[in-house]
C-alpha cells in the first residue's frame, strides 16, 4: 500500500462508528434531521420585519416548531388564495410522506407559506421537486410582501405580490430540466428581479431576470448572488475573494479582498460596508467564525475586525443575516437542538439574543437567498 493510501485509510478510521439504522428510519418516515448551514441560513430573517426602506420595524421572538408540526399534521390547509393575504413570515417545504404500504412518496412534497398573522397556506402552484428529484427553491422579499417561485405550468418563475394581489409571470422560459441540484433563487426587494442559479457552486452561469420585461443579464457561474437591492445585485466569488456589485442592467464593478472570506452579509445600510468571516487557519475555524471582518466595498480595505462576544461557548456562527441598522448585524448560531439569532453591535461586538428557533428543515425566510 502506498503511503497516500495508508494515510487516507488512517484518516478514514477517524470517522465515527457507523450505525445508520436510525438515519434509515428517519428517512423512511420523512423525519429528516438537518444540521447543514443551508438549513439555518434563512432562519435569521424570521426575527426581523423590514419595510421597503430597509428600516427594521420590529423583532419577534417565538418558536415556529409547534406551528410547523401542527400544520404538517393538519389535514385541510387551504391553498393560497388570491388578493391580499398579508406579508409572509416564512415558507417551508413539507417532507416526503409514507403511504399505507410504507412506500416513500416524495411527489407529495410541497411548499407552504405562513403569513405574519400566522395563517398557513399550501402553495401547489410552486414546484417543490423536479422530475429529477432536485429541490426547487422559493424566495421571499425582505419585507415579506413578494414571493417568487417556479411554476411547472408556466415553465417560468412567478412573482406574487401578497399584499397587492398581483401576480407576474416571467416571460423567460426556464425548462424544469435546467433546475439542477442545489439551485438558488434570490428575489429583489421590489419583486421585479430574480436571480436564478441553476446549480450553485458550479460554473454554470445564472440569470438575472426582469420578470416584467423579460430582460435577462447573465450572472457568471463562479459568482453567487447574495441580494438584489436598489437596482444592484451583490455577487460574491468565494475563496479568491471578489465581490461584484452588478446593476440589474449588467456591467458593474468588482472589488477584490485580500484574503479568503466566507459568509458574506448583504451590504450595510451605509452602502459601503459588508461583513464576512476571514479564513486563515483551518485549526482555528471556530474562533474565525466568531470574528466578523468589516470590509469596504469601495476600496477592498479591511475596516476592522469585530470579535463577537456573548455567543454560546464553542459554537461558530453559521450565517450572517440582515442588518438591523447601520451598527447592528444579525448572525445565526446553532447547536444540536436549537438555532439562535443574535444582533451584533459591530462597534463593540456585544450581542443581544433576538430569537431561538427549532432546527426546522427547508425553511425559507424573507430577504435571504434560498436553495
Amino acid at each position: 500500500m502506498t503511503r497516500l493510501r495508508r494515510a487516507l485509510n488512517d484518516l478514514a478510521e477517524e470517522a465515527p462508528s457507523a450505525d445508520l439504522s436510525g438515519m434509515v428510519d428517519r428517512i423512511l418516515t420523512g423525519n429528516r434531521r438537518r444540521r447543514h448551514t443551508t438549513a439555518v441560513l434563512a432562519a435569521v430573517a424570521t426575527v426581523v420585519t423590514v419595510v421597503a426602506t430597509g428600516t427594521v420595524m420590529a423583532t419577534v421572538t417565538r418558536s415556529r416548531s409547534p406551528e410547523v408540526a401542527a400544520s404538517l399534521r393538519a389535514g385541510a390547509i387551504a391553498d393560497l388564495p388570491g388578493g391580499n393575504v398579508g406579508p409572509l413570515e416564512y415558507a417551508y417545504e413539507t417532507p416526503c410522506k409514507v403511504d399505507k404500504r410504507k412506500a416513500l412518496d416524495c411527489s407529495s412534497a410541497e411548499w407552504r407559506v405562513v403569513t405574519r398573522a400566522g395563517t398557513t397556506y399550501r402553495l401547489p402552484q410552486a414546484l417543490a421537486m423536479t422530475a429529477q428529484n432536485h429541490r426547487v427553491p422559493v424566495s421571499i422579499s425582505r419585507d415579506g410582501r413578494m414571493l417568487a417561485y417556479y411554476s411547472r405550468k408556466a415553465r417560468a418563475h412567478v412573482v406574487r405580490d401578497l399584499v397587492g394581489g398581483s401576480e407576474t409571470t416571467s416571460p423567460v422560459t426556464v425548462k424544469e430540466s435546467q433546475i439542477g441540484a442545489g439551485s438558488m433563487l434570490v428575489l429583489s426587494d421590489d419583486g421585479r428581479h430574480v436571480v436564478f442559479d441553476p446549480r450553485e457552486g458550479t460554473k454554470k452561469p445564472g440569470l438575472l431576470i426582469d420578470v416584467r420585461t423579460g430582460t435577462t443579464v447573465r450572472v457568471p457561474g463562479q459568482y453567487e448572488a447574495v441580494s438584489v437591492r436598489g437596482g444592484v445585485a451583490e455577487l460574491v466569488r468565494y475563496l479568491r475573494t471578489d465581490l461584484r456589485l452588478m446593476p440589474v442592467t449588467g456591467g458593474g464593478r468588482t472589488v477584490h479582498f485580500d484574503g479568503t472570506f466566507t459568509g458574506f452579509s448583504e451590504i450595510s445600510p451605509d452602502g459601503r460596508t459588508v461583513a464576512a468571516f476571514e479564513r486563515r487557519d483551518a485549526k482555528k475555524w471556530v474562533q474565525e467564525l466568531r470574528t466578523l471582518t468589516l470590509l469596504d466595498v469601495g476600496t477592498g480595505r479591511r475596516v476592522r475586525e469585530v470579535p463577537i462576544g456573548g455567543l454560546p461557548e464553542g459554537e461558530p456562527v453559521m450565517a450572517t443575516g440582515p442588518w438591523l441598522s447601520g451598527s447592528e448585524l444579525t448572525v445565526v448560531v446553532q447547536d444540536s437542538k436549537r438555532t439562535y439569532v443574535y444582533g451584533v453591535d459591530i462597534g463593540a461586538g456585544k450581542t443581544r439574543r433576538l430569537a431561538d428557533h427549532p432546527n426546522a428543515p427547508y425553511l425559507t425566510l424573507p430577504g435571504i437567498a434560498s436553495n
Binding site: L4, T38, K283
Partner: protein, 172 residues
C-alpha cells in the same frame, strides 16, 4: 417482506464505507452525517428502480459526490482540522502522514478531494471516477494531477520519503 427492506439492507451493509467516504470528503462527523442523509433520501426515492435494474452502489457513489461538490459555499465548515486525535506512539511515521494529509486536504478544492477519495481510497479506475463525478477521463487526470501536485507542496513530509512513487507516477 417490507418493500424498504432492500434499501435498509443495502445501507446497513455499506454503512461503514459510506460513513468513511463522507467523512473523508467533509472532515467533520456532523457534516458527514448530513451529507449521507441527503444522499440516502435520494437513493430511497430511486430504490424501486435501482433494486430492479440499477446499480445502487454506483448510483449512491455518484449522488454522494454530486451532493458534496454542489453544497453551497457560503460558510465552509468542513475540515475544521482541529488537532487530530493521537493514537499509540504519537509521532510514528503513520501518525505524521495522517496529520499532514489531514491538514493538506483542507487546502484542496472539493473536486480535488473527491478525486483523491475515489481514486486512492475507493480504488476506482479513472473511468469509474469520471463516471462517478460526471466528467471526462481527461478531467479526472488533470484534477488528480493538480491534487497530487498540491499535496506534494503542502505535505513534503509525505513526498520526501521513499515510497512517493504514487504521487510521482500519477502526477506525470
Amino acid at each position: 417482506m417490507d418493500r424498504h427492506d432492500g434499501f435498509r439492507e443495502f445501507v446497513l451493509a455499506r454503512q461503514q464505507a459510506l460513513t468513511r467516504t463522507a467523512y473523508l470528503l467533509t472532515g467533520d462527523a456532523h457534516l458527514a452525517e448530513d451529507l449521507l442523509q441527503s444522499v440516502l433520501i435520494k437513493v430511497a426515492k430511486q430504490w424501486p428502480k435501482l433494486s430492479v435494474d440499477g446499480n445502487p452502489e454506483a448510483y449512491t457513489r455518484k449522488a454522494l459526490m454530486n451532493q458534496y461538490i454542489s453544497w453551497r459555499r457560503r460558510l465552509q465548515r468542513e475540515w475544521p482540522s482541529a488537532s487530530p486525535p493521537e493514537r499509540g506512539a504519537s509521532h510514528d511515521e503513520a501518525t505524521i502522514d495522517r496529520i499532514m494529509l489531514r491538514q493538506a486536504m483542507t487546502k484542496l478544492t472539493r473536486k480535488q478531494r473527491a478525486v483523491l477519495v475515489l481514486r486512492f481510497w475507493e480504488d476506482l479506475t479513472e473511468t469509474q471516477t469520471a463516471e462517478a463525478l460526471g466528467c471526462s477521463v481527461g478531467n479526472v487526470k488533470s484534477q488528480t494531477h493538480r491534487a497530487l501536485a498540491r499535496l506534494r507542496r503542502l505535505a513534503p513530509e509525505l513526498s520526501d520519503r521513499s515510497s512517493l512513487s504514487l504521487l510521482q507516477e500519477v502526477a506525470v
